[in-house]
């Protein structure tokens, strides 16, 4: 699904900052992967490149056997629209649109009619237990509810991969657990490929594979086949 080969990225803000120093990584379809690392390690940059929100300087990124390099803005937009679902730490819901409209927004850019996309958005909200909140603005929702709206928005186009950037970073431990379980459920039941960036071990130990990044290179990759062996156990989430 995802094939990264020797990815380099340097930021030029004042003095050059070499953030990614040759990342090579393969993620197969249906995997639930977490990327861990200290702040400044380059994990968010990597996720942004995976999400075609940012460009890389050297190397190769294949998404679903398509080389993602030097894409036109329109191609990039279309790939993001159809292949990738985003979940952000700060939810990134549009404040003046209600929950349903937020969830339906990706379908607007797919060219769906208002009626059809709102109906589908209601379906997804119902699945996530937010039916009664469909007509509320984000400011009227709790953090957990907001993140669930964001998840509904991320999966409404049935993307091949879900990219989550610190999805529990702004949530308390109870709602964090709900969100993680939701992601797990999506991975297990819908066979969605999910990549989570986090610095919380509790989150990472719910995933099948933990990629550790340090100073722009991959340290080690942990296979976490049996989730029960995690030091935090089933159902425990360390904040």
């Amino acid at each position: 699904m995802i094939h990264l080969e020797n990815i380099h990225k340097t930021y030029y803000a004042g003095s050059p900052l070499h953030v990614l120093k040759g990342i090579s990584l393969d993620i197969a379809a249906g995997e639930f992967v977490s990327i861990m690392g200290a702040s400044g390690s380059g994990k968010s940059t990597l996720l942004n490149i995976l999400g075609i929100l940012d460009t890389y300087d050297a190397g190769q990124y294949m998404l679903n056997d398509v080389l993602i390099k030097d894409l036109s803005e329109n191609r990039a937009a279309d790939y993001r629209n159809r292949m990738i679902g985003f979940i952000f730490q700060s939810f990134n819901l549009i404040p003046f649109k209600n929950a349903m409209e937020n969830v339906a927004l990706p379908l607007y850019y797919m060219g769906w009619s208002r009626k059809k996309r709102n109906a589908l958005a209601m379906d997804y909200l119902e699945r996530l237990g937010l039916k009664e909140w469909a007509h509320h603005l984000p400011s009227e929702l709790s953090g957990g509810q907001k993140q669930r709206v964001a998840i509904a928005r991320a999966i409404i186009t049935k993307p091949q991969i879900i990219l989550a950037d610190e999805p529990t970073g702004a949530l308390d431990s109870k709602t964090s657990e709900e969100v993680i379980n939701l992601l797990k459920q999506l991975n297990e039941e819908e066979k969605m490929t999910i990549v989570v960036v986090t610095h919380e071990s509790g989150v990472a130990y719910h995933t099948n594979k933990i990629v550790h990044i340090k100073d722009g290179i991959i340290g080690n990759i942990e296979e976490n086949v049996s989730l029960d062996t995690s030091p935090f156990g089933q159902g425990g989430l360390m904040k």
Binding site: N74, A77, R80, L93, K97, P106, Y109
Partner: protein
């Protein structure tokens, strides 16, 4: 498209006060443009109407004083026209001069009928005079050739003057009146707008010369010209005509103070040039007012777009193409300018119609002669449409530059914008 509009309305609703305030500056701009142009039109229409009774192909020639010695004669000598000069135009310049008549006037005579009296100016004239001066005969006839050759004491006066003495205009025909102790018969009446001055009475040219002992002297000449509308043609003809007169009256052919000439068609051309200046300057004033509204809208769009950079980032992450974002901003900006511009346009037209209603016809009445100072202060639909077109283009431009900037931002940078 309908879907897109709903999208955009939800954006506009988010900041109602700002949308309205921005819109008002546009409304005000277009309102002032319409009102200024309408008021200007009122002025222009009035001037055009007032000069509408002037024949456009008439050249008036008056005698003056020589400014230089010539042919042994000293300078500062008075030139006097006489009957022979009337023929110079048609016989020497058959191509340019269609007809000619003399100007001979007696001012401040008194017209008596029984015990009533009124002041009147007498004009001695040829039959062509009615044509040249666009005199509108409403009853009877104008002075004719027989009147002239027989030196008849026939008179043509205005309807308004006639009504001072007789119960109806029709009854005045054939009645006799006395002017300066001479009895005249009224053979015709004229009506309509005749310009300034006391009531004019028209009598045969020859009659006036005889009664007022003018001999063969004239006050001036009136020529009906052909094809002299350009200032350059006019100058050429004036020089030729002056040369012809100089041979007759022995003054230097280039002595401009010896005879004075005025060509109404050139005057009209100058007047219409002046009208164009007024019109242009009004447009400039109006457009500048409109511009201030547009600058306001550009400013707001700039701020709005900056504020929404984060939102655009979200939209891009969800798969919005750059053009889709650009288009939404453009439509938004156009919608504001169009809706509020239309309101301003409508209010402007209502205001100009109101102006038309209260001051649509402002007239100075002067002894029966109307002089308009303000007439029909409204604008054409085409101008309103042009203003609307200006608005739509302006709205597009106001939205385009900020939006293009916003669209160029990388999605990740937009997402990080606060």
């Amino acid at each position: 498209m309908f879907d897109d509009l709903i999208e955009i309305f939800s954006n506009l609703k988010r900041n109602k006060l700002r949308t309205i305030l921005t819109g008002l500056s546009v409304s005000m701009g277009i309102f002032l443009l319409i009102v200024v142009l309408s008021a200007g039109n009122g002025l222009i229409h009035a001037i055009e109407f007032n000069s509408g009774n002037m024949a456009l192909d008439v050249m008036e020639v008056y005698a003056g004083y020589t400014s230089k010695p010539y042919g042994g004669l000293e300078a500062n000598r008075e030139i006097e026209f006489d009957n022979r000069d009337i023929g110079i135009g048609p016989s020497n310049f058959p191509k340019e001069v269609e007809a000619a008549s003399g100007i001979l006037e007696v001012w401040g005579s008194t017209l008596h009928v029984g015990s009533k009296s009124s002041s009147v100016n007498l004009t001695g004239c040829y039959p062509e005079h009615a044509d040249i001066n666009k005199i509108n005969i409403t009853y009877g006839r104008f002075i004719n050739h027989s009147d002239l050759s027989d030196r008849r004491k026939n008179l043509v006066i205005g309807e308004k003057t006639a009504l001072e003495f007789f119960p109806s205009a029709a009854e005045a025909l054939g009645k006799v009146v006395s002017i300066d102790s001479t009895i005249y018969t009224i053979v015709g009446l004229y009506g309509g707008n005749t310009g300034f001055g006391a009531a004019n009475g028209y009598i045969p040219f020859t009659t006036l010369q005889t009664i007022y002992k003018k001999g063969v002297k004239l006050d001036g000449l009136k020529l009906r010209t052909r094809g002299i509308t350009e200032e350059a043609d006019d100058t050429v003809f004036q020089n030729k005509f002056r040369a012809a007169l100089s041979a007759q009256h022995r003054f230097a052919p280039d002595d401009k103070s010896a005879v004075w000439m005025y060509n109404t068609s050139v005057g009209a051309a100058q007047q219409s040039k002046g009208m164009n200046y007024i019109r242009t300057s009004l447009w400039i004033v109006g457009l500048l007012t409109l511009l201030s509204g547009i600058v306001g809208i550009s400013n707001i769009m700039l701020i709005t777009v900056k504020e929404r950079t984060h939102e655009f980032g979200i939209r891009k992450a969800l798969g919005a193409r750059p053009w889709q974002i650009l288009r939404s901003v453009l439509i938004e900006s156009m919608l504001i300018t169009f809706v509020f511009g239309y309101i301003g346009l409508l209010l402007g037209i209502i205001a100009s119609e109101y102006m038309n209603y209260v001051a649509g016809i402002s007239v100075i009445e002067f002894d029966g002669n109307k002089m308009y100072t303000f007439l029909n202060p409204t604008i054409d639909l085409t101008i309103a449409m042009e203003a609307l077109a200006v608005l739509i283009i302006a709205g597009l431009l106001a939205g385009f530059f900020p939006a293009r900037k916003a669209v160029k931002v990388k999605p990740i940078e937009a997402l990080h914008a606060k």
